[in-house]
């Protein structure tokens, strides 16, 4: 059997080969934590090294700063331009590199072989054009934004995770449903429908997810394009420095998660309002208990063990008001350093332990929003060691009572897996790690 590193290296080589031969571009699908940024950096260095200026497009300033920082550290001799809006204040990690120039106009960065910026900034960059573009998080970019940017480059590498949340619009309309250039679709789906000849490659190894997580996430959310974990089960371990007193449900859930990488902390069945105080309290208490017990994680990065600090823990929710309620409780416990955010806010981030308030917990109905596969996929694929899902009992029954009833439109490619199926698959797997809470 080929090693994970060997698989990944071969995939990267193939992508680089495609890139050299591509007439228009290459699309790379990357499962969670599969080294997407590393690929972007390698491709940028390779293209810039070959004397072809590259524009790098990401979706948020945060993402652009991350890429700029890593590229500048990786290639100190490479001159990098950071294109930004007038009110942008360079973050410390960008400002510390002497080889990075920040400017508001593309003309001021004429000599830089690599220029980075957000898609929105690139859309305003005037008439300058580049032979190559690298578009990061391309599945989160809406096609109407690509329309504004695409005139600036000849060929492009699109990188992104198809399993995450689709871009959305506050406007509800079916006016463009079925059109190949539907502006509400992601950049990649529109690109591929107009350019079916573009090669689609996949990164086969997730370096973030531990083995049990890679299995579950791959099966539920990437049923036809599976991936494997880059680490073996015995390489990732979590232990606690403090023992538990007695056996309460929180400690049981934490120990289940430490042992197997997953836990389902199940509260009694009940229909609740969106900010279910019981579930909110459980999320906050689990987080507090986790940090009290002094967790230590062992992985291929830190074989001697590293303590899990509050900034390596996250709580994920579906709605902003739920995140707000949990944040308020954690702040009262002095745990303001724990990240609490919605799936949209956690997209692209990585933690050691993640506690998830299940989107369907306590609900009476399963709407398209709450069933969206990407939402659950983001929430359950942010962790390097363990993930604890907090939910009211009865989600499988709720799913059975609400089969997917979304209309099927002509001329719209079917997306797999659908949210209903993915949710069922996750719940079916999670039930073996169930801890009943009173």
């Amino acid at each position: 059997m080929t090693s994970a590193a060997g698989l990944a290296a071969r995939a990267t080589e193939e992508i680089m080969g495609d890139l050299a031969a591509a007439e228009r571009g290459v699309v790379v699908d990357s499962p969670p934590g599969a080294g997407k940024s590393t690929l972007v950096l390698a491709a940028a260095s390779r293209l810039a090294g070959a004397g072809e200026p590259v524009m790098v497009v990401a979706q948020t300033n945060e993402q652009v700063d991350d890429l700029t920082d890593r590229l500048a550290a990786d290639r100190p001799a490479l001159r990098i331009g950071r294109l930004a809006a007038g009110d942008y204040v360079p973050s410390a990690r960008v400002a510390r590199h002497p080889n990075v120039t920040v400017a508001t106009s593309a003309a001021d960065l004429a000599g830089c072989p690599v220029v980075t910026g957000t898609a929105h900034k690139w859309a305003l960059a005037g008439d300058a054009t580049w032979p190559w573009a690298i578009v990061d998080e391309a599945y989160q970019m809406r096609s109407d934004l690509l329309l504004r940017v695409a005139g600036r480059f000849g060929r492009a590498l699109f990188v992104g995770d198809p399993g995450q949340l689709d871009p959305f619009s506050v406007v509800q309309t079916e006016r463009w449903t079925g059109l190949t250039w539907d502006p509400m679709q992601s950049a990649v789906s529109v690109l591929l429908r107009h350019n079916p000849g573009i090669a689609v490659r996949r990164l086969p190894v997730s370096w973030r997810l531990p083995e049990p997580a890679a299995e579950l996430v791959s099966e539920a959310f990437y049923p036809f394009t599976g991936f494997r974990s880059g680490s073996r089960a015995e390489q990732r371990r979590m232990t606690f420095s403090a023992a538990s007193f007695g056996k309460n449900a929180y400690d049981l859930s934490l120990e289940t998660a430490a042992g197997s990488g997953w836990a389902l902390h199940e509260l009694p069945a009940r229909h609740t309002v969106r900010t279910d105080q019981g579930a909110v309290a459980a999320c906050a208490a689990l987080t507090a208990r986790l940090l009290q017990r002094g967790p230590v994680v062992y992985s291929e990065r830190s074989e001697a063990g590293a303590p899990v600090t509050a900034d390596r823990v996250a709580v994920g929710t579906a709605h902003r008001d739920q995140a707000q309620a949990i944040r308020a409780r954690l702040r009262a416990d002095g745990l303001a350093a724990v990240t609490v955010d919605t799936a949209n806010g956690l997209q692209g981030r990585e933690f050691d332990v993640v506690i998830v308030l299940h989107p369907l917990s306590g609900r009476r109905d399963a709407t398209a929003f709450h069933l969206e596969a990407g939402r659950l996929c983001v929430l359950t694929s942010r962790h390097r060691h363990a993930c604890i899902v907090v939910a009211r009992a009865g989600i499988p029954e709720l799913l059975d009572a609400h089969p997917s009833a979304e209309p099927v439109h002509l001329n719209v490619p079917v997306k797999f897996p659908d949210g209903w199926e993915a949710n069922q698959s996750v719940m079916a797997r999670l039930k073996q790690w169930k801890v009943k809470a009173p």
């Binding site: 228009r24 859309a123 305003l124 096609s143 109407d144 690509l146 329309l147 504004r148 695409a150 005139g151 619009s169 506050v170 406007v171 309309t173 006016r175 463009w176 059109l179 190949t180 250039w181 539907d182 502006p183 509400m184 950049a187 529109v190 690109l191 107009h194 350019n195 309002v273 969106r274 902003r320 008001d321 707000q324």
Partner: protein, 498 residues
Amino acid sequence: MSTLTALAKALAVERGAAQPCCAVRHVHVSERPLVFVPLAMAGEAGAPLAAMIGDHPQAARLLTVPEPRDRDQRFAFAAELAAIILDYIRCYLGREEMVNAREPRVRFADAPQLLLPNPAGVAFTRLLGRSTRFRRTEGPYAVPENVPLLGRWLTFFAERAEVPPSSLTLPVTQALALHWATGQSPLEDLNLGVLLGWIDPPPGLTGAQAAARAQDPVRCPPAGPATDPTFDNEVLEPRLLAVRTARATGGGRAGQRAKDALAQALASQLAPTWTLMWRAVELLRALPPGAHVSSRWDADKDAFTWHAAQIRDGGPPQPRRDSAVSAARRLAGLEKAQAEYAAQRAFDDPLVMAEHRMTGEAFVGAVTAAEPDRVDATGRRRVLRPRVTVETDDVVLAVPGTVLTSPARPSQQARVVSVAPAGDRTAVLLQLRGGMGRALTPEPGSVPETGEAVCYATFGDGFQRLPDFPAPEDTPWTHGGPPQPYVPSDDDAGEAWS
């Protein structure tokens, strides 16, 4: 559904009457709206069966199609409808007004308003517009002169209905449900009779009882375009058959009798809805209009003026599909309009603002300290930057750096400097900018004073620029390249499935 809406609905159930959920009216109601109640034949999308139309409660006109499967009769119906609608529109093509914008322009001083019972009525209007706007007025299968023109106007009305803040085309159930919460689901709110039962029950009945009564399709026929299936089977089908038989046997007096009987049956289905429509207009008119309603109606007048000019200048009918660039541009426009509309509604209406306060997007409090004359001298130029402290009981989600807007002073930016607990309340320190005159001392009233009750929101109704898109001929390769230029042809009127 927000917690407040859920509460209003629960109250409606408990009290047996719809609960107002807005303090002001958020839609424009014309002095002379055109009420249009269409009926379609079951089984064939977009086949008109009858319509009741008119701009006055006492001036209902009934149009019927004795044989809806006959295309000639269908376009004869369209021609009759065109005469009425185009006459109505023509009334608004006279009076003009001057707009003093940066580029002064002339627009029509008022615009037509089309009222339909429900969103399905709008969808029917769109289908009817689509099936008529590409027809030829000469050659084979010619239609009367005014039919394609009707199609363009109906398409215009249907497209305006997609724009959230527009009142040019109003589905009445939607307008009512925006202002009242009933004790039933949003799906049930689409039934005009039931909805009005909750809002405006007849004397002696509670809203819930009136709504239950209105569910009987005999007492309260559906508001269309779909008809009641029992009516279809027991009343409509025999009369359609009678018309057909009479025509086959030579027509004459028997034919006329059959047609009259059919028209009478259809009128019995339409008349109750007609009455309900005008009752809804009265109810909406009785509400005081919100502050931004007239400026939104101005945008409708602009759209009307623009479309009238397109037709006058001989422009082509609206294309069947949007191109890549026009779709993206339209979406950007809709998103901008939606955001402005949401902000304006909250600014106009404390009950709508309350929903945003619940989610932490806005807060209401009292000013506890103010430094109205504070001057910032750190920059190149000394600038006026007053600071105020607001204490609130509301949830505050804003973090330092967030820019807030107050409905009382929409042109002023308030940047959050700090958020700190103050007892069991939250103290927010704000730094103000703009809207205070040009001097280094603020104009009177432009800075909130100590003790004043203020509201701040994380959203504003300020002007946002629409993004730039490439010209259609520069459509990039990712979106299929430049589209073929549109050349009108006889195939335009065909449908992919026909």
